[in-house]
Symmetry: C2
Subunit: 221 residues, 2 copies
């Protein structure tokens, strides 16, 4: 057990070091980095497609897609107009700073304003590995249910922005928004929340405004 703890600690501190290096790389190139996390099927790729649709005519966007298998998501991001790099984690349940570094070497950083990292679909492990991005964005999904902040506190803690996707399904499922947001509030009192539907576009404008504000802030405007 002692061996195991030492090995895990070594991996974590090495990850922290590399995350800081990644952050420096992004800062030097003037890139804003977002780490997009969610459970499987919450809508990470759909949100990326919508964001590309709204911003790619005036912002140079790259997408790094983490998946345990297939390049379905990277293909969708590329089809929507992004420079897309696929990371196949080989079964691993999260991205880490090493994987992000490797993917960054495949991009021309001087030609990017916004980097969106699509983490592996998982509500537990991605929270434990810092990548070196500037903002953590969590996507919740209405049909997942309103108890998720209570059941996955690690993921809901320390998030900068929370997208609450699939609001178009609210009439068809039981979801107590007050109960949900009370749970969120305790864990990340400072976060901004964006209820929206990637399907019908409602609420998307506020999310896009937030991304643009973050971009401006990052450029020092």
């Amino acid at each position: 057990m002692k061996d195991r703890i030492e090995v895990v600690e070594k991996i974590m501190s090495e990850n922290e070091r590399l995350a800081l290096e990644n952050l420096n790389l992004l800062n030097t190139a003037g890139i804003l980095g977002l780490n997009l996390m969610a459970s499987p099927g919450a809508g990470k790729t759909s949100l990326i497609e919508n964001t590309l649709g709204a911003l790619s005519n005036r912002t140079r966007i790259a997408v790094i897609d983490g998946d345990i298998a297939t390049s379905i998501d990277a293909d969708r991001a590329a089809a929507a107009g992004a420079v897309a790099v696929q990371i196949n984690t080989g079964g691993q349940c999260h991205l880490d700073a090493v994987m992000l570094r490797e993917a960054l070497t495949q991009l021309n950083l001087d030609e990017i304003d916004l980097l969106i990292v699509e983490n592996v679909g998982n509500l537990i492990c991605p929270a434990e590995f810092r990548l070196g991005t500037h903002r953590s964005v969590l996507i919740a999904s209405i049909p997942e249910g309103d108890d998720k902040p209570y059941k996955y506190p690690g993921m809901y803690r320390g998030v900068d922005a929370l997208v609450i996707n699939k609001t178009d399904l609210l009439p068809f499922v039981e979801f107590d928004m007050t109960y949900f947001q009370q749970g969120v509030q305790v864990l990340s009192p400072e976060l901004v929340a964006f209820p929206l539907s990637c399907k019908n576009g409602e609420g998307m404008d506020l999310w896009i405004n937030w991304v643009e504000d973050e971009l401006s802030g990052h450029r020092g405007e």
Copy 2:
């Protein structure tokens, strides 16, 4: 890295050994064990509630609930009439055979016919740790999307039964059942699939019949 691999291999083989012991414990007591896996919010607890509602008048059912925090699920199972034991994994993203053993010691095995283990909500890690149950049951959920077998092959491989929950939402989301089932077929050609809705009950009878058949088979009837 070598250290890390050795530690991981030691953990995995120790888990296999304990899983076999758990299986022997269940067999000695004449208990059928199901390992229920799914991503967050797919409906594990709702399926357990429905199963208890249909079977608890003629089958003695115990539920062991794995969660990284809270006892929400175990409380729901207990309210629905099961003997329920909560395992708090303390942040860990899956159950393992050690945790199941610990939970089994809290149950009177001679008074149980069916043990349902609700694994942690996660489409990656639970597949790697055998618990010692007889059947693996995966719950997919319609709003998660039809690409999940392709993106999470580890979890869809070697499954005995697949519940496809939330069919009541089929009219409101894009979900290509043929594409989905082709992906499933490649990974688990032998599995039985149960499209159903825990909300309105449609398709539930076939799932309940399967559980009863498995119980009969296990008793050697």
